[in-house]
């Protein structure tokens, strides 16, 4: 039994938590699993194949019903938990984290405050492959990017796997479902898809935890995560690193500084 399994088992045995949310082996890859007895703790795995942001489950009524949870948490999961806490979706000691980094030690963090402290030493940035891809897109001309996104978004069927897998998309009623007036077209045509993905990026700007789960969840492999990552990067570049890198959440889009600067307003 490895360290993760051991720690999960202890938490369950002690009754500290009633469920450990982690990843287990699935068909070919990894899948989220809800371990509810010490005997099942051996199912837990953590490696690079575990890409779902498990913080997404913390708000689901079906999961909340299971009792207090500990989440097997990579850095983006921890960031999501802190941000959820800041947005009043999660209480300070409501859930625990079993903080993991591939190949590193497992740390038990019992409160959001402890998670903030832990995060302070970790960089808040997207995975290297996504940074490369963002760079590639940034180097394109505007018409090239238009063509790139037109082709990609044309394939979107609006299954909302991106939204459903995102820990920060927890709204009970999403903008997509606001229909008085019909704000964003429901239909997965070109306009509906473009507006949906722009709205998603804007609503996640300053809140995105840079896990990339939305893109990996897309059944068609559309790199929708690049949009949210880009919006997040824009926020960080214009308004500073803020507190997120230090583990403290920020509300970049609901605050301002008088000295915010730009060059485009006439």
């Amino acid at each position: 039994m490895d360290e993760l399994q051991e720690k999960a088992k202890q938490l369950l045995e002690a009754g500290t938590v009633q469920v450990v949310i982690g990843h287990a082996a699935g068909r070919g890859g990894r899948r989220p699993v809800f371990v509810r007895s010490p005997a099942q703790a051996g199912k837990l795995v953590h490696d690079d194949g575990c890409w779902q942001n498990l913080a997404t489950y913390l708000g689901k009524p079906e999961v909340r019903k299971l009792g207090r949870a500990a989440v097997v948490a990579s850095p983006p999961v921890l960031r999501a938990m802190v941000q959820l806490g800041a947005e009043r979706q999660l209480g300070n000691d409501e859930v625990m984290a079993l903080a993991v980094v591939t190949g590193g030690p497992v740390r038990t963090l019992a409160t959001l405050a402890a998670i903030e402290g832990h995060l302070a030493s970790l960089p808040d940035e997207p995975p290297a492959a996504d940074r490369t891809e963002l760079g590639r897109l940034a180097a394109m001309t505007v018409p090239e990017r238009r063509a790139f996104w037109a082709e990609q978004l044309d394939r979107c069927v609006r299954c909302y796997a991106c939204r459903a897998s995102c820990p920060m998309c927890y709204c009970e009623r999403c903008t997509m479902e606001c229909n008085r007036p019909q704000w964003v077209p429901v239909a997965s045509h070109a306009l509906g898809n473009l507006e949906y993905h722009i709205v998603r990026a804007m609503h996640l700007a300053g809140r995105c935890v840079q896990c990339g789960t939305c893109g990996k969840s897309c059944p068609l492999g559309i790199p929708v995560h690049l949009l949210t990552l880009f919006a997040e990067r824009s926020v960080q570049q214009h308004f500073g690193q803020g507190g997120k890198a230090s583990g403290k959440p920020v509300f970049a889009m609901s605050t301002f500084r008088p000295e915010d600067s730009e060059t485009f307003i006439r």
Binding site: N179, R180, P181, Q182
Partner: protein, 295 residues
């Protein structure tokens, strides 16, 4: 055995080019509007194409999809009686995108209607029986069609009793008809409002519908009960009726699941093996008990 690709209707019948567009509504003109209660309106709709109107038939209990052009379609029952020809009526509460667009319409405006869809109240089978109608709030419209239908065939039935309740006096719909029914000697109307919902000059009863029905104790022999209302009212009324001796297949209700097509295709109203738009919306309590409680 070879499975066929396009089975049933299209396979034996015509090519697609000869098939009608089942989503095409009739164009209707609003002939009359009535404000029933806060946010609740009744439309009287006439067919713009008189020939379509002359061909149109429906039976009590059926529903249709009403279009507000520019906003979409919404599902309501046909609230008028099939014995009243030349128009249909619907009553709706302003709730969402379509109903608020409809609420903005005035006399003379055009709306769409497609239907009638669904099954009906089997009033032919009720001949010789007494009828008690139990309705709550905005759920009087589906019963209004059948009540008028039965009143227009008054000699078919024994006693006709209507128990109707709403949260407050303001929320009672069809106030003019309630007065008319109240004046009639050949039926009995009991109107009630929830405790606290009465106005100073309220002359009707105060109390919840199930309690009123229980106190009224209508005879259940050779009688049929028709119940329609919010889920909680239905839930509490059914045991009362059973206690009074109504058997499960003499108690009728209508379901109001969300629908988009009305044709059994879009999948929304599917509840167990039943499609409310095709097999319903009218169910007996006996039938209802065979369905999962997904309504």
């Amino acid at each position: 055995m070879m499975e066929k690709v396009t089975m049933l209707a299209s396979d034996t019948a015509s090519p697609a080019s000869a098939q009608a567009n089942v989503f095409k509504p009739y164009l209707m003109r609003i002939a009359r509007t009535t404000d029933e209660a806060p946010g609740v309106r009744t439309f009287r709709l006439e067919f713009v194409d008189g020939a379509e109107g002359a061909r149109f038939n429906f039976r009590t209990g059926q529903f249709g999809l009403y279009s507000a052009f520019g906003a979409g379609e919404s599902t309501f029952c046909i609230a008028s009686s099939p014995t009243r020809k030349g128009y249909i009526e619907c009553t709706f509460r302003e709730m969402g995108r379509v109903t608020s667009a409809l609420a903005d319409c005035e006399v003379g405006d055009f709306v769409g209607f497609r239907g009638p869809y669904g099954n009906t109240f089997p009033i032919d089978e009720w001949k010789g029986k007494s009828l008690i109608f139990v309705a709550g709030g905005i759920a009087l419209p589906p019963l209004r069609s059948v009540i008028w239908n039965c009143l227009d065939r008054r000699d078919w039935f024994g006693d006709i009793i209507v128990v109707y309740g709403a949260r407050t006096v303001k929320d009672l719909v069809y106030k003019q008809e309630l007065e008319e029914w109240d004046r009639r000697q050949d039926m009995k109307l009991v109107v009630t409002v929830d405790p606290g919902g009465e106005s100073p000059d309220w002359k009707g009863k105060v109390g919840f519908v199930p309690h009123v029905v229980e106190a009224l104790a209508p005879p259940s022999e050779e009688a049929v009960a028709v119940v329609c209302g919010p889920p909680i009212m239905i839930k509490l009324s059914l045991p009362v009726l059973e206690k009074l001796g109504f058997v499960k297949d003499a108690i009728y209700t209508t379901l109001e699941n969300r629908m988009k097509c009305g044709l059994g295709k879009c999948g929304r109203c599917n509840t167990g093996k039943s499609y409310v738009c095709k097999d319903g919306p009218v169910y007996t309590l006996k039938e209802l008990e065979t369905l999962p409680s997904e309504y």
